[in-house]
Symmetry: C2
């Protein structure tokens, strides 16, 4: 109980630190194009779990990292995540007018500016990550490796590829293999990037980075299946968004494919495997372990 | 005359080499998301002057560069240029159905896939540039510097910023100051990136990179003002696209602001200044000099 309370307090503190850092990494210099900076800030500072930068930082700490070189990457991955939301919400995509209770970017700034704001956030993610070279020029090759992972996991073989399949398959029933690919890419890839970049910059060996990638992949899948379960078992009050949306949209999910009980079993198995793998690593970070458990077993 | 013929033959050869290289750098591995690879290829291999990779390579050569490390950057800058065209053509932006006589990406693949294809090309540009680290790991800091320039010149303080101002000001008369900013950013920035990256990877000093940036900025402006002039003086046959489009769209241009004669004077002055500056550099590349002259004085 006291551990849990401690965890909650720590987590809130960490979220605040991430939000301050994000604010710092947003573009400052204005000009005739200042509306795009406003649109970027509007979407980036709209709240959210800040899960990816937090996982990145905790994995970095796990491997003994303790410098500021991680910060531009923490901001960068949240920019990539945010750009994907801005573009997903567009009229030509999911056509969503609200996200987390606020109007979406295209509703506030127009469709053209929302397209450009998404582009701007993606581009600025790389501009931001590159700032790490100035912080630790002697580690340029390692930083280059971290940027490689960011690019690969965000792109067509990662998050964006998952989004492509999801868009293509909207309205069809899909096989478990396709569903797994969507989850692995759309949700998993950026969680993998977060934890792998933390490990790489923290000085992990190639072997350890591979283990971290596997942990993150398991966490991503468990996280997403838990989402499927909550859509059926939660209440709108608890979840903060409409429930039964998958059923309404005739979406194939782990629950429609396996039923609730087996879906729950998948969450259990994958999360246990993730935690066991985490414990095979030479160092420990109890906060990270608790964070993973909380993510997977969350009620919202 | 024979020099000119020589130049033309050389240029065609160089364009072919760039197209082959682009093809090589396109994603190969397919999967459920293969439609996005097709859309990327459709837009990237749709022809065009290949001006930016060519300027990059020639500037690289000017500074004595002679390795393959330039190639991923040549592909990357063309991907950035192409993504900007795909998104510019979208219904929510310029709503163009044809480009260079072919249907635009969203007409062929749908608006959702065109948004994702643009995103994919931008992301893949960075994934591609990062391949340089494997080619020359000992030059990681220099490669990081080149990626920094690519990001900055493509983003909100570069090309994308110019596009934002252009979209915002569509339908209004604009001042010369705003017009200059649009030209400097929307057209100039990526030409600057091309030549600066060539210089950086070719081993130019910081001072020389600054000179190259200035040359590219002058070339970009002269190139764009020449575009304004051709829109008024050329024929549709010669230009290969509708003329008088600026007048029809009530666009402010150098011609509407200064008149044809003074606009021509600007092209002369800026191009002479660019060539003079180029001649202050320690090395020479006669092909590059001729390329710049041709660009500025082109008839289409």
């Amino acid at each position: 109980m006291s551990l849990n309370l401690d965890f909650k307090v720590q987590k809130e503190q960490k979220v605040r630190e991430i939000e301050d850092s994000l604010q710092n990494y947003l573009p400052k210099q204005k000009g005739y194009q200042k509306i795009i900076m406003e649109a970027m800030g509007y979407s980036l500072l709209a709240g959210g779990k800040r899960l990816r930068p937090m996982l990145m930082k905790e994995t970095y700490t796990l491997f003994g990292g303790h410098s500021k070189v991680i910060e531009p990457f923490m901001a960068a991955i949240e920019m990539v995540h945010t750009y994907s939301l801005v573009h997903d919400d567009l009229p030509a995509m999911d056509n969503d007018e609200y996200r987390r209770g606020r109007k979406t970017t295209h509703v506030v700034y127009g469709e053209d500016m929302a397209i450009l704001a998404g582009d701007a956030l993606l581009n600025y993610a790389f501009e931001t990550a590159v700032k790490a070279f100035v912080l630790e020029p002697e580690d340029s090759l390692t930083i280059g490796n971290a940027i490689r992972v960011l690019g690969e996991k965000a792109g067509i073989y990662g998050m964006l590829g998952g989004q492509v399949i999801d868009v293509k398959e909207t309205g069809h029933a899909v096989s478990k293999d396709v569903l797994d690919t969507i989850y692995e890419l759309k949700t998993g890839a950026l969680i993998e990037a977060a934890m792998m970049i933390g490990a790489i910059l923290g000085g992990a060996s190639q072997e350890e980075v591979k283990t971290v990638e596997r942990i993150a992949s398991l966490v991503g899948l468990a996280f997403q299946v838990q989402d499927d379960i909550l859509d059926v078992t939660s209440t709108q009050e608890e979840l903060g968004k409409p429930i039964h949306s998958d059923e309404k949209n005739e979406k194939t999910t782990y629950v429609t494919l396996l039923g609730i009980d087996d879906a729950k079993k998948v969450v259990e198995e994958k999360s246990e495997e993730a935690i066991s793998l985490l414990r095979t690593l030479p160092n420990e970070n109890p906060y990270l372990e608790e964070l993973l458990m909380e993510l997977i077993h969350r009620k919202k």
